[in-house]
């Protein structure tokens, strides 16, 4: 036996605590995102929004949670029980896992371990590829939910969501490449550090940023790309048959995915947890990070309040005939620009 197991045990403890903190934060974030969304949309539509439960309706998410928790779960006879049970769990786990590589601050010195503590679950040199891999799993939760429900509306919703997500996944993967080329790393922490030392990448990659934002909205199935759950045609899409806690899991997964893509947008294009020219302690980093995520969530809500839903053929056309060629052009243009820069054309 290894005589000195204490460091291993400490690391393990650290991993569990970090995991618990991330999940706790994401669930709280989810709860207050729903409140934030209702409040902002209400203001945009000249309504008051939630204001009964607690001050400014702040207790409404808790009330909603309790309601869903105590609701009876209806399992229709026709469903495939195993997959019906598994699908929301897949959605939720995938949504949480995608957040793992997002850095929320500079590595910090802590008393209980040698070396620095990562502020974020993990950081390695394939972080972005890991993220793409994990997010490509989100399709399974939704497509399987639609299939397992054995309900025509749910199945169409699930299939539509599947086709939509894979279509926009391509443009998303390609839109990030410009950033990777400039920084020369797939580690999100290194990308943030680069931006700290130079400029925010949104200035160098404006087209990449725009494509990323559009695909991020489509990947999270939010308005105006919320075809999978188009109420007027599909009742509630893939989660038509889901009730109570199982429905809540899909709901959570959707909002956690939104938080993740906002955080990713911040890390890739908007300087992550840093502000230009300012060196902050870890809680300052965290506050800046939160501020950027909230700003991103506001844009999500703003777009939802502004834009009408696309028709499905328009949506697919847009993904394949506009975003995909544009993102390829962006990659080539970035490569040519960088090559010119390296050979001193820009001085």
């Amino acid at each position: 036996m290894n005589p000195d197991l204490t460091p291993t045990i400490w690391i393990l403890l650290e991993a569990v605590v970090k995991g618990a903190i991330v999940i706790g934060a994401l669930l709280t974030g989810f709860a207050y995102s729903t409140w934030f969304e209702r409040k902002v949309i209400a203001r945009m539509q000249v309504r008051l929004g939630p204001n009964k439960a607690g001050p400014a309706g702040l207790l409404l998410p808790a009330a909603d949670g309790l309601k869903l928790f105590f609701k009876e779960n209806i399992i229709p006879r026709a469903v495939d029980k195993g997959i019906f049970f598994l699908a929301p769990l897949i959605s939720m786990t995938v949504a949480v896992l995608a957040f793992a590589v997002i850095p929320v601050g500079d590595p910090t010195e802590v008393p209980w371990r040698e070396g620095l503590l990562q502020l974020g679950i993990a950081d390695f040199d394939v972080a972005l590829l890991y993220l793409l891999g994990v997010t490509s799993f989100a399709v399974y939760g939704i497509a399987l939910a639609g299939w397992a429900s054995n309900n025509k509306f749910a199945l169409i919703g699930g299939l539509r969501a599947g086709a939509q997500m894979i279509s926009y996944e391509l443009a998303m993967g390609l839109s990030i490449l410009g950033v990777v080329m400039i920084v020369g790393s797939l580690s999100l922490h290194e990308i943030v550090v680069w931006q700290k030392a130079h400029v925010w990448l949104v200035l160098l990659q404006p087209l990449g940023f725009v494509i990323y934002v559009i695909t991020a909205i489509a990947e999270t199935n939010r308005a105006p790309f919320d075809m999978p759950e188009a109420e007027q045609e599909l009742i509630a899409g893939y989660h038509t048959e889901y009730t109570g806690m199982r429905f809540a899991l899909f709901f959570q997964a959707e909002y956690i995915a939104m938080l993740t893509v906002c955080a990713l947008a911040a890390a890739l294009f908007l300087g992550g947890y840093s502000l230009p020219g300012v060196e902050l302690p870890w809680f300052g980093d965290l506050a800046v990070f939160l501020g950027k995520v909230i700003a991103g969530m506001f844009v999500f809500v703003w777009i939802r309040a502004t834009m009408p839903r696309l028709r499905y053929d328009q949506l697919m056309d847009f993904g394949w005939k506009v975003l995909l060629p544009l993102s390829i052009i962006n990659v080539v243009a970035t490569a040519v620009g960088l090559a010119l820069y390296q050979n001193g054309v820009f001085g």
Partner: protein
Amino acid sequence: MNPEMAFFYAVALLMIATAFGMVLARDMVHGVLFMVGNFVLTAVLYLLLNAPFIAAVQLIVYAGAIMVLFLFVVMLLGAQDLSLSEPAGGRRIIGVAAVLILGSLLTFVVKEGLPAGTAAGLAEERLPTLAAFGREGVEDPQSGAAFGSPQMVGEALYREPYHIVPFELVSLLLLVAMMGAVVIASFGKGGVAAAGPEQRPGEDSA
């Protein structure tokens, strides 16, 4: 047994279990799910081999793209149609024979090593240096990147012009595959848009 070996055996056992689950699943969609699980575990094995880039590719391409295609195909064909056809006795015998042959070949290769002189044998002769390099977690002196990282893969693939022909051939292969897909899908004279004469009444066309 050190922890790494224990972990490897746990993963390997799970992989065998998911493989059996896939083959024995009565329902095609369940089979697809087992296969996804199997592919994810394969990615874990690649991580154990210190090849994070290949692991990520395994996740993105196999588990995330090809299996989505499989899932769509299973849904497209209608799962219930396929569950009816039991494999015939002859096919079973062929299957068992194939497993035995492949198994004995693999056992031979693992025990004896690859024959010298063949392309695979040459690769193995060169491999030990690379493998030792990876196992000890040594940093690459030139680029500062670890073995198996995307930087290393990029350097190896694109620095020297040796790989240009196979690399461009890959794109031609992808092109041919894409054309094939389009041609196969556009049955009937009306092209893809005609959705096919086989469409039965009551079928969905959303």
